[in-house]
Amino acid sequence: MSKLINEPITVHLIKDLQITAFIWRKRLYRVTEAFDWWREPSEWWEGDAIPLFIRVNAKNASIGTYELCKLDDKWFLSRVLD
């Protein structure tokens, strides 16, 4: 089960796509593991960029699984997975 969020987040990176943490709703989530990624075709004919999704385990109060999305240079929290 997953919950669709699609809210902007701030991401902390050490290298190009190595995420160490992200801030969502003013709370910091420390990434413990990034375990999957994929791209989804966009409506490029409308000028949309191709989104990159990264699935991570991150820790706030407890550890959860989150789907982050990078679109152009902006980051979003796409989903929260149970």
């Binding site: 994929w38 791209r39 075709p41 490029w44 004919w45 191709i50």
Partner: protein, 1027 residues
Amino acid sequence: MSFVHLHVHSQYSFLDGASSIDKLLQKAVVLDMPALAITDHNRLTGAIRFYVKAKALGIKPIVGAEIDLEGGYHLTLLCKNVEGYSNLCQLLTKAHLSNRNSKPRATKEMLQEHNKGLIALSGCAKGEIPTLISKGDTKKAHIVASEYKDIFGSDFHIELIRYRSREWNPILHTLSSFASEEGIPTVATNNVHYAEYEDYKVKELLNAIQQNTPVYNLRGNRTADQYLKPSKEMERLFRDFKHALRATEEIAAKCNLELELNKPRFPKFQLPTNETDFSYLSKLANSGLFKKYNPVSTQITKRLGYELETIKKLGFCSYFLAVWDIVRWAQKRNIRCQARGSAVDSLVVYALDISNVDPIEYNLLFERFMHPLRKEPPDIDIDIDRRRRDEVRDYIYEKYGSENVACVGTINTYMARGAIRDAGKALGLPQAVIEESVKGIHWLSASKLMDAADKLPELKNNPIYRQSELKQFFALCASIDRFPKHMSVHLGGLLIGDGKLSKLVPLEWPSGGDIISQYDKDDIERLGIVKLDLLSLPTLTVIEDTIKSIKRGHGIDVDIDRIPRDDPEVFAMLRDGKTLGTFQLESPAQREMAGRLLPDSFEDIIASISLVRPGPLKSNMDKLYLPRRHGTRSVAYLHPSLKNALEETLGVILYQEQVLKVAHDLAGMTYAQADGFRRAMTHDRTKEEMENMRGSFIEGALKNKVSKSIASEVFEQLSAFAAYGFCKAHAAAYANVSYQTLWLKYHYPAEFFAAVLSNQPMGYYPPRVLVAEAKRSGVTILPPDINRSFDFFSVENGAIRISLAQIKGMSEGALISIQATKKNGDFTSLRDFMSRTEVSRPITENLIRVGAFDRFGSRNHLLMQFSDIFTNKQRSMKGAKQLLEHDEPEANSPFEQPNAEARIAERDLLSIDLSSHPLDHYINDRDITQMKDLPSLKIGAKIKLVGGVIRYQTPPTRNGNRVVYIIMEDGTGIADVTVFNNVQEACGEVLFREPWLVVTGKIQKRGPKATSVIAESVRGFGQHFHK
């Protein structure tokens, strides 16, 4: 472990693969891949060039294809060896040829028959087993798996494809379990369709074009994951399927195709008993020699012997015999044909009657055609009377068997216009935007579109190229530049195999025409298959028609191959530039050259044909040659030993044959080495290569006691001209036909123009320009007449009668009906015509409008009558027959002069200005210069022209600046207008767009009789007259 991509589509998966072979291979090099496969849909079109390029880059090429099976299933096949390659060729051929107007489909029986040497992978999601597993039909999947195992044994693998997505491939594990149940090994692939993931857009665009649907309506699951992934990424993706990863390497190790390239392959010629191909060829050539020369000198016999020995040594005796046999067969049936190209350099070709240009008389050099050091097979190109070319083709099919003969395929690719049209439609752009975007695009590659839109005056003022919302669209158009769309028949190339052709070349049906090879001519050459170019040449049809017409009208048999080659009147006409309709000499550039060169011999025509080429003009050969030809500059040779080679062209290197002679005479090279030297000079070469060539040239020259400085200077001249010189043999063959057409035009203009007009389309000019030229040559043009006209332009008491076939909308059925009915007597009235023929209403109406029934009354009256008769005829067909039979014919009215409406109808329906020219009213304006008067004006004279555009030309120039040439006509003559950059800037909006132009400018004369106009302004006709 090194992962190998075994399922890869290139751009030769027409409209599905989104990367070129070069791009895929470049990425494979960057990713350090040891091997790479090519598996395009149902074809091997890219396979040979992939094979050659991959090997050159140190990558092992694995050749294969993804084929369509019955039911629309896919199957990936890879060649283990030559046997596998041959089987794949045959399989693809069968799949294509057994499905003429539909997608190729292979059957299991075909797979069974051609299984050897092939490895099969179960294919993408459209594979038969993956499809059945997806549907949950495991039972059927097991049956099918058994079938594949029966066919391919242990060489059948289940393909595992995993794209990264939110929901990975759900059936992957099911497929893997199924495979282990069946004992079938699995293999990991990525079904690659592009090198980089960003190119998925290009793939989707191509798919939308292919499916003729807007891109947002594309069917199927979308992915951006079909790119050439690095090994590491594939290993991570398939970390749970390690055996499938290992299998890629194992399969790659099994694929060891070694194609034998550049080995000549040609069928054995059927010989008379006790003859070898060499003995028979020698016999024929020697006997031909005695028919051509009397006496036969030792020099000639020696040369023939040398040529024959070379042909034997290179293994081409059968090829020469085959060409001789084909030409002889055609000649026996009075089909005009003759060799063109460098083959004309050969005395054997002349002795066998394949060419009618004497290589001894014209100082032609055999080694330009073939020699022992040349790798490529010789190419004898034959021009054939267009109307009868198919008869010759049929003979070849019959003689060698239809399985051994095919046409050469040619790959049609995207240029700017096509890319804009197709991509625009796929992206759902409004038609008006598409039309505006292509407007003004002349001949342009899609990748240069935006650059051209910044520079070219006719594009840069068009705001469409600057609209930000279209930026991505034009970038997409550029991304499909030169992408293949489909294959079609190469103009003349025929392949004759040394056995069943499909064992070496996959064949298919083109959209129209005969069976073609999936390879283009370059790859055919790489495979060593000798191709025969049988080119339709309409000029030969014109010559034949003219000769027949002369016989009919004058009772004279013209032996066109024996006409005097020094007819002064013919040369006078050529010098005056009155060459419209003639072969090779009618273009503006050739007319201008005639006015500068002032030719008075056949050799001058050869020189003229050779000079008017982009290369010679770009390198200013004309400026070196013409003053010497006119004696205004002295002829000098850098060294006495150059005289032998260059005397015929007054010290200027004009012909490729001369490059060989100079290298031979000065630097002591053999002619074979000299040809290698010439070829090397014509290709891009590194500084180092150039220095090596210079070194060996100078070294050779020094041995011949030529000073270093002279040798160096000659080398510089050769390097400047070698790439631009023209093959004299080819020019001589063309000059022969050119002269024949000039001669016919001068002596029999009516018969000649009637033939040219009957054989349209051909040449440079449309019928209305040719008709105007015929009138200027003193020929009367008669309107179409239902009783007098035929289905061709005929000659009637020295005048040309317009053909009924010229009328817009005329059908072959209507022509047959009219001609057949006339055999039973002329038509006596419109009513009679309509009752006796089955010609449609629109055609009959057009016949009336262009005056074909003028003998029966005025056009207006006939049109009214036509409507009544037609209604009655329809009624009569419903039972009221008496209305037609008993209706009295109308009395003949006197011929009524065509009015303005009739004149418009003539232009629209005949494409000919018969009664008058649309500009007649304007060119009498005292401001306007009539084009017929241009030659009499002085240099620099200011003029204003009004005329219709015949065509635009933008030939390459030495400094790279574009010059636009406009050929115009005003009914009195034609004008050649030059528009330089500065003027183009000001008239960008009308160039390439407006059909009627007003040009102001001044007279230029580049030679005594070479008149043209330098434009100072160019405006649209309406724009001018409305101001």
